[in-house]
Amino acid sequence: MPAYFPTACAGILRRGAGLSAICACLLLGALGMTVMAASQQSANAPNAGRQRISILLVRERRDLPPPLSLLDMPAANDAVAGAELAINDNNTTGRFLNQEFTLEVVQDLAAEALLAEVESRVSRGASFVVLDVRPQTVLALADRLKDTEVLLLNAGSSDDVLRGQECRRNLVHTAPSRSMLADALAQYLVWKRWRRWFLVTGPDSADVAFAAAIQRAAKRFGAKIVQERAFNLDLGNRRADGGHEQIQEQMPAFSQNVPDYDVLVVADEGGQFGDYLPYRTWDARPVAGTQGLVASSWHPSLEQWGASQFQNRFVRLAHRPMRALDYNVWVAIRSIGEAASRTRAASARDIIAYLRSGEFELAAFKGRKLSYRSWNGQLRQPILLGTPKLTVTVSPQPGFLHQTSELDTLGSDKPESVCKAYASP
């Protein structure tokens, strides 16, 4: 193998005072070297005139309860591995075009410290900031950086408000919105003629938002929510010696006396109870939504459209299957790479302009080109529906037509968009 394939940076942790949790690493793909950010400028550049494009990945620390299943424990390098793969892919192309992409990671910080750190990195030259942070942190960053020439790419939040009322001109989204996910699921359920839904909504605000997207989708595609029920059982600690004995009593009781329905749609984004529902409902019904049959931007089993090679590359790098967050981050960084190679530019202004233009198209292993919606900066993309092990189908479903792109049958379409920041460029 040639020496210029970049190495992973996951192991390079800076352990200085105050920075103990920041992994600041820089991938010099063309040199096969890993150096600290501070020495970036002094690195011996073999090629004068090489264009450097500096990308920052930001992950906010969130104190979330652990998921129900051991299988769903988040990986330490969630998102980061997707970023590393994209940087490798960008640099393999970049070495032919004398362009070099570097990655810095800021992670495991709470909101305030994180904002300051990102501002400091931006002042030192990062022009592209890929985000896996809470919606309010997305907005705080977008507002603080609004006078800089920096593009924020939201890879972690599905919040519709960020694409609607609170959209920002310096913000695009590779993560699908909740409404895209709900529409993708709804199209399939309607295609399947499972039109009567029993909606079970968890207590968190995210659960309520997901349920709202499901209600919107039901109206849009002609399904009927026969009943909505709040899930308000206190299940206690997720882990106790035993537990299934009580769960299998509680779940049927909870789902009893529902008007006749075809499918139970669950809204439990935090994964605190949804996985208890399949095989335990009072009536023998399938479960879909945030658990059961799930809509997502990616599935680790996808092999169509050349995805096998992509999955293989990822597993070789990260030693685990690719998750949706990794994919969203990969798409964000590949979008920057694609725009950079098309414009042959290093300036953020040119790259951003191309990424937003009608010319931009990205091949991303989903069988058709992906691009950004001109009315809110949302990436238009097919959505996969899968069970934990396999992809079941891909939406948009056959027969859901659109005058410009069938992909725009998913999520907020141009005529209904309430995003003002994008309305006047």
């Binding site: 192309t93 050349g306 090679q309 293989n312 190679s341 098309r342 198209e361 990205l362 091949a363 792109s405």
Partner: protein, 327 residues
């Protein structure tokens, strides 16, 4: 090393063709079935499958040795190339190929074989006689299509995620230039006179026609089919007739083959074939063109002169590659 009788039989075949259109020379068409691990063998006169061969795992790219004694098959999931005897239809040997070989091309002199390794960002150069790997050429992410100039001096490799056509000097194995094309380039095909390379870009939905001397893009050809979502028009297979006048382009999930006049770069006609049409092959007399239709498990047969689909032949599941032998 052509067979001594090769030229004679073509002459006889042509004579027969002129004497009586019914008595066409029968060519043999080999089709890989990706899902079934088989090769369907079709008689070009009867237009039916005469035999199905059980081969290695996930057969995709397929070609013939110059003397046509060997059938070479990319058996992707076995990570090698299988060699079969075309006369006895017996397995001969495997060639090393690097991991996950998908497409390959033979040097016009008959050796070596250039194999695209999608998983490893490499082109592997293999001597088909002594099984040696002659060289490995690093290219962009996910190399796929390979085209070689008629004089064998220039190899063009496409890389799907890097969106480039890499121009490689076959003497030194050095990349001499990289041409950025539209998204997800798949197949590269030289015109018979060697003055153009046609590169299909599946997600970009276009053909880039490149001058191999200046490496400038001479033209980009787009497609428009009434009633078909533009995103579903995904060009993959490219074949140019031996007289250089016509190009046939397989348009994937648009289920059409485009016929292009190479003089004007204009699409002359769209022919409706089976579903997800991927690869194409002419008969040696250029009278028929066979298309592999992955999603409908069949091969469409196009009458080149009449620009008409004349037959659909059921083959195995997910037909992928196709090659036609003289005998």
């Amino acid at each position: 090393m052509p067979r001594a009788t090769g030229g004679t039989s073509i002459a006889v075949a042509l004579a027969l063709t002129f004497a009586s259109p019914q008595a066409l020379h029968a060519y043999t068409v080999y089709v890989t079935n990706e899902k079934d691990n088989t090769v369907s063998i079709i008689d070009s006169n009867k237009l039916e499958v005469i035999k199905t061969l059980k081969v290695g795992q996930r057969p995709r790219g397929i070609t013939l040795s110059k003397d046509e004694k060997w059938l070479l098959i990319c058996t992707s999931d076995d990570n090698n190339v299988q060699v079969w005897d075309t006369e006895k239809l017996e397995f001969v040997k495997t060639l090393p190929s690097g991991p996950d070989p998908e497409l390959f091309i033979l040097h016009p002199a008959g050796n070596p074989l250039y194999v695209a390794n999608e998983d490893d960002n490499l082109i592997t150069v293999v001597d088909i006689g002594n099984n040696n790997v002659v060289a490995e050429i690093p290219v962009g992410v996910e190399p796929e299509g390979l085209g070689i100039s008629p004089d064998g001096s220039l190899l063009v490799a496409t890389s799907e995620t890097t969106n480039m056509a890499h121009f490689i000097d076959t003497a030194s194995h050095a990349i001499i230039d990289n041409v950025l094309v539209d998204s997800r380039p798949r197949v590269a095909e030289f015109t018979p006179d060697g003055t153009q390379v046609w590169v299909s870009t599946e997600i970009g939905g276009k053909i880039s026609v490149i001058d191999p001397k200046s490496r400038k893009i001479l033209a980009k050809i787009g497609f428009e089919i009434p009633g078909i979502d533009p995103d579903a028009i995904q060009p993959v297979g490219v074949r140019i007739s031996r007289n250089g006048k016509l190009a046939f382009i397989a348009l994937g999930p648009a289920n059409r083959v485009a016929v292009i006049d190479t003089a004007t770069f204009k699409v002359e006609k769209y022919l409706l074939v089976g579903q997800r049409v991927w690869q194409l092959a002419f008969t040696p007399d250029d009278k028929l063109l066979f298309t592999t239709n992955g999603a409908s498990n069949d091969v469409s047969v196009i009458d080149v002169e009449k620009r008409r689909v004349v037959r659909s032949i059921k083959v195995g599941r997910y037909p992928w590659g196709v090659v036609v032998a003289r005998h």
